[in-house]
Every structure is written in structure tokens, then in C-alpha cells.
Symmetry: C2
């Protein structure tokens, strides 16, 4: 899959709370469809549909073990999606730094606090 198409597929797959919960479960280790369906109060076909979306997007793979076919997380496309958010991270970190600087300035402008028995009052 081309990188732009892979990102489209990754983000589209992530745009659903059940699929995010399935990925979170698989982050802890492999699981079968039965095991995945358990906590969701969802039919196995409904879970299977979500698994097909995740598998097509390359976010999970399924073992060839025909009895159980456990699903496992494929972290690479998630790492790529995360890396693509990197350029925005600089923006929000700059925002946080501005906020920190503002708070420091406000603190510096405050009157000296009264120290009482070694305990500083807010």
C-alpha cells in the first residue's frame, strides 16, 4: 500500500471506538474472535466485520492456525500514523511552553508569600 493510502486506511480504521478497543486489547497480546467478542456485548459477526476492516488496513494479522485463528496487533502502520502527527506535536508543545511561560510570569509578579513554620501557603 502507498504511504498516503496506508495513512488513509489507518486513520479510517481508528475512527471507531470498538476498533480502538479491539486494538487496545490486542496490545496486551494475541486473542481469538471469541475472546475479543466477550467484553463487547456484540455478536461474533459484528466483531468479525470490525476485524476485517482492521485486517484490510494492515493493523492486525491472523494466524493460519485454523482452529483458533488468533489475531495480533501489527504495530508498524500505527507507528507511521503516530509519526505523521509529529509535525502537529511541535505546535501543541509550543502552546504548552507559552502557557508555562505565562504562568511563570504571573507567579513572578505575585507578592512574596508568607512562610509559616516552614510551610508555604498558596
Amino acid at each position: 500500500m502507498q504511504q498516503a493510502h496506508q495513512l488513509d486506511a489507518t486513520f479510517a480504521a481508528l475512527a471507531d471506538p470498538t476498533r480502538r478497543a479491539i486494538l487496545a486489547r490486542l496490545a496486551k497480546g494475541e486473542a481469538s474472535v471469541m475472546e475479543l467478542a466477550g467484553p463487547f456485548d456484540m455478536s461474533q459477526p459484528a466483531i468479525s466485520k470490525h476485524l476485517r476492516v482492521l485486517e484490510r488496513a494492515g493493523l492486525i494479522s491472523r494466524s493460519r492456525d485454523r482452529q483458533r485463528r488468533p489475531c495480533r496487533l501489527e504495530a508498524k502502520p500505527l507507528a507511521e500514523a503516530d509519526a505523521s502527527l509529529e509535525r502537529y506535536r511541535q505546535i501543541w508543545e509550543a502552546n504548552f511552553r507559552r502557557l508555562d511561560a505565562l504562568l511563570e510570569e504571573m507567579t513572578a509578579q505575585r507578592k512574596p508569600v508568607k512562610i509559616e513554620k516552614g510551610r508555604r501557603k498558596p
Copy 2:
């Protein structure tokens, strides 16, 4: 917007290359629709449609300045989407660590290298 719905909207908005490119442009600073449409070889209505998706998802805001209405990036939902990928990050970092350990082991098992005039041959 509830957090799960916000994440749905954020990831759905990110699942398109034009919208990701618009966000990347806005990460550098405010821009008008005209300025955004320029590099995309796309009509202004097409760009406006993408902007509406981004605005509904809360990823951009538009100034009330009626003449130009510049768009700006709203980093908070992107920071939340990034944070939600945190739990998978542990998985791929563990994968990288395993790979590093394997490489180190392979290097340690190699025969001693021949040093020639202070230059180490691979």
C-alpha cells in the same frame, strides 16, 4: 463532544490526504481559503468542503474577520489523538528493543574482526 466521539471525528478527519496537507500547512501558521486552495490545484468549493469537515471535527477554527476569515490549527484534539496512540507505542518500541537485542546477539556471535592500520573492517 464526548471523548470517544471526538476521537472518532479526529481520526475520520485525518483519513484524507488533502485534509492532512491542509493541517500541515496550518501547522506553519494561519491561512485563508484562497491561500490554502493555491498549492492543491483544487477548486475553492472543494477546499471549503474539506475545511468544513476539519472545522466540525474541531481541528481548525476560523476567525470572524469577514474579509479574509483565516483558518488556524486547533492542536488539542490532535494532542488527544496522539495520546490515544500511546498504548500501542509501547508495543512497537518493545518490538524495536527485541530487534536491537537480536542484532547485538548476532554481532557478539561474530568472529573477532581484523584491525588493519587503525581501520576496522566490517
